[in-house]
């Protein structure tokens, strides 16, 4: 700081001062009769001037040029260091860019800063009436609504398909300013029957034909005009890559997510207070039994951290955090490799460095120069890693995921990711470069050269490397075991002999729910008559593809005891339990609708266990919410999983499909088949198509439809496993390097030993013992760290699988030992094949 200040302050005066100072010196010398030393006056001035220039920057440039030259001279060293760094930085950047895209990407709207997401105390979505009330209240400049998860049926002339659609208010495109690639978005002046296509739908189903604009397509059996096509990289407000295939104006009464434009100058706090006012009015005019709306108001931004706040993604963020931590360890392993290489290289450069020191380079300058080399390596490594990461992340994002909604991640070069890669490069420079540079600089000043000490440093580094890979591998092993357990867990229903059909009915034709009931009955008869289908049932939800989690306060009518229960809900037809292979433990399943006189439910074993209180549940009745008619429990069935196979069993309540008011024209069917269900898919489709040709059909085997349930464990195993493998590879290279270097350095010693009669096996034992010591220390240290570091993983693992699972840890130690053995073979063989005579004659 002081230097900079002085330099800036004095630079202008420098020339004049220097002249005057030197003139004074000469005059004095002349006056005293001393000979003026014959110096090169201009060189002197140069030297003085140099001091006042920004030498740091100038030196840096010189060092960079020199380092580049040096690296080019040793291509093997450079290539192996670059490969390590590119892999390490690439792995980190890949995960980071996916995480950023998934959680922090900016939605495609105009002026994202002034857009907010509003909750009016009615959950994540709000009724249209309330939305209109909010708009009329004038709290915001503008208010729009969007329902991003609904379906429309599209008939392309030959077949009806179900499209994943978003429905939005008429002012949606105006308020949000969503960019449109082709054509335009709708305005309030447009008729209701218009649509905007996603880029993917346009490419896949309309062959990317620009003439699609203005064309009429049939949606839900009505004519819609195509107005526009969204850009390829459209990012929805909901984020997480969720990408509806088509946008249409709101056409039913489903609740909407509310987005609003802040008025100029309006802050989030202002808006929140004003929305609270609206909610209070609502509470006063339309009070509800379960809590006041005003207590649950939130107004958050739609990008960045604000969005993270209002989406429940704690565990996703934690998962990414853990992945990044592991990837950081992998980078550390890579850096240690580079540090090892630099140390080895330093000993071959001793001569060059000695010359430099004798020419007057200070230790600081030397350090700076050596670090510049690592900086250059790290920067090049980061560049390569960035490119690698972009390709890998794109590849990963393009993998189809077994989820029921279309997910598109648009991985693009991103400034945040670039900054992250650059920061990693700096860290890598210091981690990989500082120790070797410091050691080299010190060695060159303290003359007694210390190969031994340098070896000690390298051995320590390798121990750290083995420890780090132990931790990374342990996480990978835990997740592999997790996946193995997940696939072994029974979801509680038959997934091998069953199939599922998801039927979307044209809403206009099925506005009357009795028509839906009629369709269900007819479809069940048609399905049961398909040869090979032994039973068929209808259900609102098929477990492990969708779940409905509710919370309710129930009251036992006999004792008057009230209790609150969080349960999974479903509505099913009588044959459901038989078809799915869910055992009825007590009582009975539902009977044909005509015979169920009163309201009945079936509960699961966990419900009985938690809320039965020793009561004989079958026959007991309870009151549910505001419904005056009691519900009678007629049966208890076995538990099933509902969202993931790893979840804890939860209470479940089933209602007969016939007793549940249906507001959606959607029905699902499950079929049990005597022959492999994959062979039944076509006949099932035909049977359903005959009953309602205009329905949208998704027919698949149960086994393939529940893929989503295994997704967390599969993703975990794949990602952690890949990191573990990468870490293992890198540390194997490091271990090999250090062993090979040790053997090379002890060639003479081994030669002497063999000359005085040592057998090759004894030499091999020395080399092996060295490797075993390193491995033992590394595994011990890694085990100690892993015992603590893997503890937070418990939240992602199956119940019953401990994050310190002995089997996982033991297998990691075994794998490391195996890799170490492979790494030691080469050096050991080299050591035993030393020719004592040649070796002794050498100097």
């Amino acid at each position: 700081m002081r230097r900079l200040f002085l330099k800036v302050l004095r630079r202008r005066r420098l020339e004049r001062d220097l002249e005057a100072e030197l003139a004074f010196h000469r005059d004095m010398a002349a006056a005293h009769g001393n000979p003026v030393p014959l110096g090169n006056a201009s060189a002197l001035k140069d030297a003085s001037r140099d001091l006042w220039r920004f030498t740091l920057v100038e030196n840096l440039w010189r060092d960079l040029v020199q380092a580049a030259r040096g690296l080019r001279r040793s291509p093997v060293f450079t290539a192996s260091a670059l490969a390590s760094l590119a892999l390490g930085i690439g792995a980190n950047t890949t995960l980071f860019s996916i995480g950023v895209e998934l959680m922090l990407s900016e939605p495609s709207v105009r002026d994202v800063r002034s857009l907010v997401y509003v909750r009016l105390g009615e959950g994540s979505h709000t009724g249209f009436d309330t939305l209109r009330l909010l708009r009329d209240s004038g709290v915001f400049a503008e208010v729009a609504g969007e329902r991003e998860e609904s379906f429309v049926l599209w008939n392309d002339g030959t077949e009806t398909r179900r499209l994943f659609s978003a429905q939005a208010t008429r002012n949606y495109f105006d308020v949000l300013g969503v960019p449109v690639a082709l054509g335009r978005g709708w305005t309030e002046a447009d008729p209701e029957q218009v649509a905007v296509l996603s880029h993917r739908l346009w490419l896949r189903r309309f062959a990317g034909d620009p003439a699609v604009i203005g064309r009429t397509i049939r949606l839900n059996d009505q004519a819609f005009a195509v107005l526009g096509v969204l850009p390829e990289t459209h990012r929805t407000l909901w984020s997480f890559g969720l990408s509806p295939e088509i946008y249409v104006p709101r056409h039913n009464d489903e609740d909407l997510a509310v987005y609003a434009r802040l008025a100029p100058g309006q802050t989030l706090g202002d808006a929140r207070a004003a929305v609270q006012g609206v909610a209070r009015q609502l509470d006063a005019s339309r009070p509800r039994s379960h809590g006041r709306r005003a207590d649950a108001v939130s107004v958050t931004t739609v990008d960045g951290l604000g969005r993270l706040e209002n989406r429940n993604i704690g565990s996703l963020a934690a998962f990414f955090g853990f992945l990044l931590g592991l990837a950081g360890l992998v980078l550390l392993i890579a850096c240690v490799n580079v540090a090892g290489l630099l140390l080895a290289r330093a000993s071959t450069r001793r001569h060059e460095i000695a010359v430099r020191v004798s020419l007057g380079a200070s230790r600081g300058r030397l350090l700076q120069q050596l670090l510049t080399e690592s900086l250059l390596l790290a920067a090049a490594g980061a560049g390569l890693g960035f490119v690698l990461a972009l390709a890998t992340a794109r590849g990963l994002a393009a993998l189809p995921l077994p989820v029921p909604v279309p997910i598109e991640l648009h991985i693009q070069p991103d400034a945040r990711v670039a900054v992250y890669a650059a920061a990693l490069a700096l860290v890598a420079t210091l981690v990989a470069g500082l120790l070797p540079a410091w050691q080299t600089a010190r060695d060159s000043f303290v003359a007694a050269l210390q190969r031994e000490r340098r070896m000690r440093v390298r051995r320590t580094l390798v121990v750290a490397q083995i420890a780090a890979s132990f931790v990374v591998l342990a996480a990978g092993a835990l997740f592999l075991q997790n996946l193995w357990r997940a696939t072994a867990i029974s979801p509680g229903f038959d997934t091998r002999k069953t199939a599922r059909a998801d039927v979307q009915l044209p809403p206009a034709a099925y506005a009357d729910r009795r028509r839906i009931d009629g369709f269900v009955d007819e479809a069940l008869r048609a399905l049961e008559s398909v040869p090979g289908v032994s039973s068929a049932a209808a259900a609102r939800l098929v477990p492990l593809t969708e779940a409905d989690s509710s919370r309710a306060t129930l009251t036992w009518t006999d004792t008057g005891e009230r209790f609150t229960v969080q349960f999974n809900w479903n509505a099913v037809s009588p044959a459901y339990f038989r078809t799915m292979g869910i055992a009825v433990r007590r009582g009975r399943a539902f009977e044909e609708s005509a015979r169920e006189a009163s309201k009945v439910v079936v509960v699961n074993a966990t419900f009985l266990q938690r809320h039965g209180r020793g009561r004989e549940l079958v026959g007991a009745t309870f009151l549910w919410g505001d419904d005056p008619e009691p519900f009678r429990v007629v049966g208890v069935v076995a538990d099933t999983k509902n969202v993931t196979v790893g979840e804890e069993d939860r209470p479940q309540v089933y209602q007969p499909l016939s007793q549940v008011a249906s507001d959606l024209p959607r029905v699902q069917f499950v079929m049990r088949s005597a022959i492999p269900p994959v062979l039944q898919l076509a006949p099932i489709r035909q049977a359903l198509r005959r009953v309602e040709p205009a329905a949208g059909l998704e027919v698949e085997t149960m086994f393939s439809s529940i893929g989503m349930a295994f997704l967390p464990s599969q993703l975990g195993a794949a990602l952690m496993g890949a990191l573990g493998a990468l870490g293992l590879l890198l540390s194997a290279v490091g271990l090999y390097g250090v062993l090979a270097y040790t053997v090379a350095g002890r060639t003479r010693e081994f030669g002497i030993r063999m000359a005085v009669g040592a057998r090759p096996s004894e030499i091999a034992r020395i080399v092996l013992a060295g490797a075993v010591r390193l491995l033992g220390a590394g595994v011990g240290l890694g085990l100690a760290v892993a015992l603590f570091a893997t503890r937070p993983l418990a939240m992602f693992l199956m119940p019953g699988l401990s994050p310190t699972d002995p089997l996982a840890f033991a297998s990691v130690a075994a794998v490391l030992a195996l890799v170490a053995t492979a790494a030691v073979i080469g050096p050991a063989r080299r050591a035993t094949s030393i020719d004592p005579a040649r070796c002794l004659r050498r100097d």
């Binding site: 330099k7 005057a20 100072e21 030197l22 002197l44 003085s48 001091l51």
Partner: protein, 109 residues
């Protein structure tokens, strides 16, 4: 000239300059003269190394410079040692004694 003056080792000139300035602020020529005289005329500090060293020390904060008037009424740049400079003397003196005794030891064998 008979025997050439021995070249100063890197770093030792700094130490000599600082040591000289401990007696009070001096201009460059006086510093060179003092070193010359104190070394019994063995060491001759050339201006080519003196002034860069002075500037380096000034930048490092070991000495401070100001323009003053010399004994013969001319404008001259005077250098004065700072507290940091005094600390530096102690450090460099120790380095120097280690170095010189090491050289002695080597030569004694």
């Amino acid at each position: 000239m008979g025997n050439p003056a021995p070249a100063l080792l890197q770093g030792t000139l700094d130490l000599l300059v600082l040591h000289t300035l401990r007696r009070g602020p001096q201009h460059g020529y006086a510093i060179a003269q003092t070193i010359h005289l104190l070394s019994d005329a063995v060491l001759t500090v050339e201006e080519g190394s003196l002034y860069p060293a002075l500037h380096r020390l000034e930048l490092g904060g070991a000495i401070e410079a100001s323009w003053g008037v010399s004994e013969n009424n001319r404008r001259a740049k005077y250098y004065a040692i700072t507290r940091r400079g005094r600390r530096l003397i102690d450090e460099q003196q120790e380095t120097w004694s280690r170095l010189s005794s090491a050289v002695d030891r080597v030569l004694a064998r």
